[in-house]
């Protein structure tokens, strides 16, 4: 492309956008909506995934040893626990150590300082690798002879997994549907422009303009529609995310949820929005101009 054509194509694309103000507004509106919905579900999925990862890092379940077991017998269970699938480590905690740990949690409570270690049980701090297999792992640990019970946050982990999976499925489905809708709307907007300029296109073809030359202004129009939509959607997504994050942070019942700060996510969100917006815009324009380029 010659350098003086770049300015011409840009100018033509821009004037195309203004020639059908309402349709341009509609195309940008629907694309922004699509990007926002896609972005919101993706961010929910990303946050749910991050929470799961956090839980996985800290996911320590306690496996209690039967009271009748001597310390030696209890220690001998370590290898059996480590052999359980999905278990990464099993650390023995004696009842004395458990009492000390408990007392340390409440240094100002005198009544906890003189407890008899016998009221505690020998136990193992068992770390697991994949939280999605938590229930199965808990069952396997319980099945180890000498283990009396297990303390695990199965319901919480299960909740996060459900949220993440639902968000991922909805996200993928919505992306597919909304992407097609956006391309269709943008394509129709640009079809209006091409219809409006059909005489110019016919003249260009008649004087020997190449298909590329005829196509570029419309590609620029689509590009600008997509890019503008991405910028607007990004700003709205930022505002929406910040508002939701503030709401979660200040809500006492949602203390367990830690929302990823937007400053960690904006490059990915911005890049994805820009890429998706431009893809929708350019895809729409190419589909609109196709029939006008037949010789």
């Amino acid at each position: 492309m010659r350098k003086y054509n770049f300015g011409y194509f840009f100018h033509e694309g821009l004037s195309n956008m203004f020639s059908h103000g309402f349709m341009t507004f509609a195309a940008i509106g629907i694309t922004v909506a699509c990007l926002l919905i896609m972005g919101t579900f993706t961010l929910v999925a990303v946050n749910a995934n991050s929470l799961l990862k956090d839980l996985e890092k800290e996911n320590e379940i306690l496996a209690y040893v039967q009271e009748s077991y001597t310390p030696e017998q209890a220690k001998a269970l370590e290898s059996k626990l480590k052999a359980v699938s999905n278990v990464t480590s099993a650390t023995y905690i004696s009842r004395e150590q458990a009492m000390e740990d408990f007392a340390k949690q409440y240094p100002e409570e005198n009544m906890f300082q003189d407890l008899d270690p016998q009221i505690f049980r020998d136990r193992y701090a068992v770390k697991i690798e994949n939280l999605e297999q938590l229930s199965q792992t808990v069952r396997s640990v319980k099945a180890v002879e000498g283990i009396d019970g297990v303390n695990a946050y199965e319901e919480i982990a299960g909740g996060f997994i459900t949220v993440r999976n639902v968000a991922t499925v909805v996200c993928v489905a919505l992306i597919a549907i909304l992407f097609v809708v956006s391309v269709f709307i943008i394509s129709n907007t640009i079809k209006l422009t091409t219809f409006d300029r059909r005489d110019e296109i016919a003249i260009m073809r008649m004087v020997g303009a190449t298909n590329g030359f005829i196509r570029w202004p419309f590609v620029y129009e689509g590009f600008m529609l997509g890019f503008l939509s991405a910028v607007i959607a990004f700003a709205l997504q930022w505002g929406l995310y910040a508002a939701v994050a503030r709401g979660v942070d200040t809500n006492d019942t949602l203390q367990l949820i830690h929302v990823i700060p937007f400053r960690q996510l904006w490059p990915a969100v911005g890049g994805t929005f820009t890429g998706a917006g431009i893809l929708m815009g350019v895809g729409g324009s190419l589909s609109a101009i196709r029939k006008f380029l037949q010789v």
Partner: protein, 230 residues
């Protein structure tokens, strides 16, 4: 140079528009292509511009074999032609200057060359003072001269004028034809498609008469043969 050899053309609806036409137009010639409505004149223009493909025969135009031209070569072939339409086909929202600049840009001409060429062409057609006018501000004759300027501006080898005087009164028609003759004298091949017998008879030029898709006469000095109907 234009060569048609045994060209046949049949539309999808079964109409046989061209039936074995063979003709030749040399560089620098001025030719009238005449014939009644439905005789096949418009189809010949479509064949020459590559809008339709012949069913049989060969077409050569300015070094391009139109009968088996590739899609990429069609724009290059069209750059050797300047087309003038009966209904002018000017872009109303662009000034005269911009109408001309538009077709120069379309073939990738540099802005400096555009600025240099347009005043020259407008002067040639006598519209140098109308550069900033819009087509709707011009008379029919002036609009057709803009269309001629637009056909000329990319410096084509051949100008094909399809009923260029169809919307003009006899005096304006004669002026326009004189302008095309002047352009021809500068070296451009000119093919004028018309059905105006009186106008053709006023110029002593080669006349190719088409009827029912065949060449029925080819000679110099006005129309010879059957009548020409509007």
């Amino acid at each position: 140079m234009i060569r048609l050899k045994d060209v046949e053309m049949e539309y999808e609806n079964g109409t046989r528009a061209i039936q074995g036409i063979t003709l030749s137009i040399e560089d620098g010639e001025f030719v009238f292509l005449v014939g009644p409505s439905g005789s096949g004149k418009s189809t010949i223009i479509k064949l020459l511009t590559g809008e339709v493909e012949p069913c049989a025969g060969r077409i050569m135009i300015n070094g391009f074999s139109v009968s088996n031209i590739s899609e990429k070569q069609i724009p290059l072939m069209r750059r050797t032609l300047g087309i003038i339409f009966q209904d002018f086909r000017l872009i109303e929202k662009k000034t005269v200057y911009d109408n001309l600049a538009f077709v120069m840009r379309a073939v990738g001409t540099a802005p400096k060359e555009i600025q240099k060429r347009i005043p020259y062409v407008l002067k040639l057609v006598g519209l140098e003072k109308k550069a900033q006018s819009y087509p709707t501000e011009l008379s029919g004759g002036e609009q057709q001269r803009v269309a001629i300027a637009r056909a000329l501006v990319n410096n084509p080898n051949t100008i094909i004028a399809d009923e260029p005087t169809g919307n003009l009164d006899p005096e304006r028609s004669f002026e326009l034809m004189s302008l095309l003759l002047k352009i021809n004298e500068l070296g451009t091949t000119v093919v004028v498609v018309t059905h105006e017998k009186d106008l053709v008879d006023r110029f002593s030029k080669r006349v190719i008469t088409i009827d029912t898709g065949r060449v029925v006469n080819d000679g110099v000095g006005g129309y010879v043969g059957g009548s020409i109907h509007a």
